[in-house]
Amino acid sequence: MPTTLSTISWRKLILTLLMFAVSILFLLPFVWMLVTSFKVEKDVFVYPIQWIPKEWNAITNYKEVWDGDYPFWKYYLNSIKVGVTTTVISAMVSALAAYGFSKIHFKGSNYLFLIVLATYMVPSQAILIPQFILYRQIGLFDSHLGLILLGSFSVLGTFMLRQFFMGVHQEFIESAKMDGANHFRIFWTIGLPLVKPAVATYAILRFIWTWNDYQNPLIFIRSDKLFTIPLAMQKFTSLSGEFYSLIMAAAVSAILPLLIVFIIGQKSVIEGIALGGVKG
């Protein structure tokens, strides 16, 4: 259409091309990683860089990563187990607390909320030592359960979902109460369905954070068989030494599930981050 080809859209087109060039900077390391994971080892550092492998070795590389001497599928199962459980528990605990802090008017709720919010300021590393001592004492050290519990009590989740519950009209709650429903029924049948999109956003974020978490497994997990992907990735790297094509295949494998989760939930992830950020 001739009208859309005004000077403005030319400017827009040029800026789009420019931004595209800049975005290459952000994607290039990932592209290099992906391409390298398909190569035979001797081609990895050939210069000029072969952006399309001359000799394809993809199947051998990925087979070695997934089913070789240090099989990734085991650690995948660990990561999925820890990730899914942490996400479910954390979403539940946060939603309950968020409902309690926004829809039930009970004595001291404001003070309690302030205390919970204040703990958000505590950097996770400032409490590692007592947590470690506690875990050694009560036998949660070197267990998935311990890891799951560490990720399950998120102040951020409570805060984020509370914002959404405050948007639910109090009349819904009151009229349900008139009908004789108690808070658990109201929460389950009215509250939760109304904030479902927010819970989904939080769940995706929590899954990504748990999957990528390196610090907690590093400190609270010791047995190799309990490793999650980030620790397995590091161990694989040190075991593989100079086999960079294999290391890159492992890196692609570590990032891929998150990429899928992110692309599926892209809109809600970005909105959730923007919302949590601007309001939080």
């Binding site: 309690g100 890196a251 981050i273």
Partner: protein
């Protein structure tokens, strides 16, 4: 004449008033039940540990000594910290690291302004710039480690081809290691900051720009007079969270440099980890943790004071 329902409602109300006391007890009980899982978790895993950290920071204690080995030394640990070169170096590195924050904020703001209004394929750009943020930091660090490889890594190959005969050794060189890490942190942080800036931009009323157009303002004036000041709450938020996050940088150091070469990339949290979990000096490490907590507390408090003064709402 009253209808039966009206009577019922009236009766109900009266009953309700009589039941008011028990009702509020019910509300209290329900409230506590709803928030208790969160509350117990936060108490056991955050509140008690932070108090324990502060208490332990006054002790000289090693993990392997057992409970009987605790030796209370008052502020001895903190005195020692003041003369600990490695600690001072880590704090200095932490302050150098602060430079990443304005750099990635500026880049993110420019990118956000362009992407929000002046390009096609907006969602492509959001995803592309966001990729580093969602990727596992271990995988990202491993990839950069190889890219930065001094003798045959791709980055130095390109630099050599461009005519630099002696490109830097990057993370292998004490003079460049911290800057290399800072560059990667800038690279990973831009996506998050940009997304927040885009959200901030969308909250600016469009009619302000229309009014400026009528007055004949050019793009730069509009940016200086409308966009920049109205983004100040967003910038402020990003500045504070950014500054706090530099005090928490750990993963990338642990994977890429382990604080080396010769302590050049040791940050406070790395030194804390090294002292507590490698050298097992629990009391001394707790005093580092207390200092870390103090820094974060001061920044948060400073934010609270500054917010009303500087931010245009």
């Amino acid at each position: 004449m009253e209808t039966p329902t009206q009577t019922a409602v009236k009766g109900g109300l009266m009953k309700k008033r009589r039941k008011a006391w028990s009702l509020s007890t019910g509300e209290n009980l329900a409230g506590w039940l709803f928030v208790s899982p969160m509350l117990i978790g936060v108490c056991v895993l955050v509140l008690i540990p932070i108090i324990a950290t502060i208490v332990l920071s006054f002790a000289d204690w090693n993990f392997v000594q057992g409970w009987d080995g605790i030796n209370w030394v008052g502020i001895g640990n903190f005195k020692k910290l003041l003369h600990d070169d490695q600690f001072i170096r880590s704090v200095r590195n932490n302050f150098l690291f602060l430079f990443t924050v304005p750099i990635y904020m500026l880049i993110s703001m420019v990118l956000a302004v362009i992407i929000d209004r002046h390009v096609y394929l907006k969602s492509y750009f959001k995803v592309a710039y966001f990729m580093p943020y969602i990727s596992s930091i271990v995988a990202v660090a491993v990839v950069w480690q190889v890219l930065f490889q001094p003798s045959y890594g791709p980055i130095n190959e390109v630099l050599k081809a461009l005519g630099f005969s002696h490109p830097p050794m990057w993370i292998a060189d004490p003079n460049y290691a911290l800057i290399s890490i800072m560059m990667i942190v800038v690279w990973t942080s831009i996506g998050f900051n940009m997304i927040i800036y885009i959200a901030g931009l969308q909250a600016i009323p469009k009619d302000l720009y229309e009014a400026a157009d009528i007055d004949g303002a050019d793009g730069w004036t509009k940016f200086r007079r409308i966009t920049f000041p109205l983004l100040s709450p967003t910038s402020f938020f990003l500045l504070v969270t950014g500054v706090i996050s530099t005090f928490k940088v750990f993963d990338i150091i642990a994977v890429m440099t382990q604080g080396g070469p010769i302590g050049s990339t040791s940050l406070m949290v790395w030194y804390l980890y090294d002292t507590a979990f490698v050298n097992l000096k629990v009391g001394y490490a707790s005093s580092i943790a207390a200092v870390l907590f103090l820094f974060v507390l001061l920044i948060t408090f400073g934010q609270w004071l500054a917010q009303k003064r500087w931010v245009n709402y």
